[in-house]
Amino acid sequence: MRRNHQIPLGAIVKGLALTAGHFFRNMRIHVAHLFGRRLQEKGMVTFQYPEERRPFSPRLRTRHRLTMRADGSPRCVACMMCETICPANCIYITAGEHPDPHIEKQPLKFDIDLGVCVFCGFCVEVCPEDAIRMDTGILEFAAYSRQEMILTMDKLLMKEGAQEPDRALMKENA
């Protein structure tokens, strides 16, 4: 009998003991949970997404947003630094005159194509006005069409109806 035909019986038993051990330990915890006991222990390592989420690092780059001035208009002055730096070429800005001559320039359209974005965060890094951030905590933006993947200015400004950044999810890094 060649060596590689040998059946490692010992290892098989060891393996079965290991998995059975996990089974009984976890079952004990699950059953205890049913009676409201040992709640601080977890019978699994999985998170029940989407009800239960992992805490994000505060530095995590999530969906973009445009910050606003006090009056709710975008802080963005359409300088197109972000559009320029974007390695995916997925920011599309159309600039226009701002009614206030001291602000001068504003975006008339500001679209980000999330279907193309690589989440590098360069746009945030480069913005001279702190007008764009990736701190919304929104990670779910799957859509049924490419068109729906394009965020328009309204969505980016997160005006009413839009999801607010969930700061509670962003646990401070120890």
Partner: protein
């Protein structure tokens, strides 16, 4: 007339239990593996928001399979292609006919044997049915008119034949010891004791036989670690062309065979429906006696049988979710060069001991 009604009732009861256990196994397959692996397992299917720990997933599976396109390869042999999954399910189910799931129950003057058919060659019958089951797989592979499916069917055939020999040789030891082929009589025989108090279960008489039978049995069910005929994501096998409920039937076959194997292991090696020290009239141990209603005794025995089967199912799942797959040459070597000689040795020693 009443005989027929009673028999039909027994058949219905057995099928009811088997299918329910099948359902539970489908659920357990997911949940047990999850718990073993520190996960939670499927728990999303719900009925009006009630999730019941994922108990509804098998229903969802069934709905999915029934609704799926029933695909048939253009060049397939239509009749055989359709018949194959039915053959597989059929032969795995009929094995249960000779499994005794209790002693006798006396109800309203009728004495009912808790076994569908007490064939005096019950053991042979089970083996015969298991062997016929192979046709389901080989024909599925052949009728698909697909080289890969055909090869898968061939692998299934050769694997099952190889391990049936070991299985057969192993149980011969028990046959020699119990001097019978009737499963009921075997269970009855296991109701005796060594030294008056150690149950004379098959596993104690034939520990090596039990191990060999267990391994060969797993190989018969074609599940991991012996899933070479068809290995879910990696190995293209005999039912590659099957879809929808026809595929579902092959999947069911695997689970029914698992249950059948558990039932066989229980019957042959773990005393069947026997509960140690529990007899028809109550509890005996040494001088201790406790009278129990015979109907309750029957009920306890049936429950004990069910529990034993369930425990074996659990063990089989544990093995399935722990071990990695064998290589095909390892599979063959294990069957022919390791298990067969050992089972023959076991047989020889048993024969020798009985003779002396």
């Amino acid at each position: 007339m009443t005989e027929i009604v009673i028999t039909m009732g027994k058949i219905a009861f057995v099928l009811f239990c088997v299918f329910n256990l099948l359902y539970v196994l489908l659920w357990l397959e997911r949940k047990q593996s999850a718990v073993m692996q520190d996960r939670i397992g499927a728990n999303r299917a719900d009925i009006f928001g009630l999730r019941a720990w994922g108990l509804f997933h098998p229903i969802a599976d069934a709905i999915k399979m029934i609704c799926k396109e029933d695909f048939m390869p253009a060049a397939a042999d239509k009749f055989v292609y359709t018949a194959a999954p039915f053959l597989a399910v059929f032969f795995s189910l009929v094995g249960f006919a000779v499994i005794p799931f209790g002693d006798t129950l006396t109800l309203g003057g009728h004495t009912i044997h808790l076994q569908i058919a007490d064939l005096n060659v019950g053991l042979l019958y089970v083996f015969a049915m298991l062997s016929l089951g192979v046709y389901g797989f080989i024909l599925a592979g052949w009728a698909s008119n697909n080289n890969f499916a055909f090869l898968g069917g061939m692998r299934a055939g050769s694997q099952m034949i190889s391990y049936e020999i070991t299985m057969g040789a192993t149980v011969m030891g028990l046959v020699i010891l119990f001097q019978t082929l009737s499963l009921n009589q075997m269970v009855q025989a296991q109701g005796e004791y060594f030294f008056g108090f150690i149950p004379k279960w098959g596993v104690l008489l034939q520990p090596l036989g039990f191990l060999l039978f267990l391994i060969a049995g797993i190989a018969e069910t074609k599940r991991i670690p012996f899933d070479l005929p068809e290995g879910e994501s990696e190995i293209i096998g005999y039912f590659v062309e099957y879809s929808g409920m026809k595929f579902g039937m092959f999947m069911m076959t695997d689970f029914i065979e698992t249950i059948l194997l558990s039932a066989m292991l229980t019957t042959l090696f773990f005393g069947g429906w026997q509960i140690p020290y529990l007899h028809a009239d109550g509890f005996h141990l040494g001088g201790l006696r406790l009278a129990i209603n015979p109907v309750l005794v029957s009920f306890l025995q049936v429950a004990a049988f069910g529990l034993k089967v369930f425990c074996f199912c659990w063990l089989l799942l544990l093995i399935r979710w722990t071990l990695p797959r064998f290589r095909y040459d390892q599979l063959m070597a294990l069957g022919w060069k390791f298990m067969l000689p050992l089972s023959l040795l076991n047989l020889a020693i048993t024969g020798l001991v009985v003779l002396l």
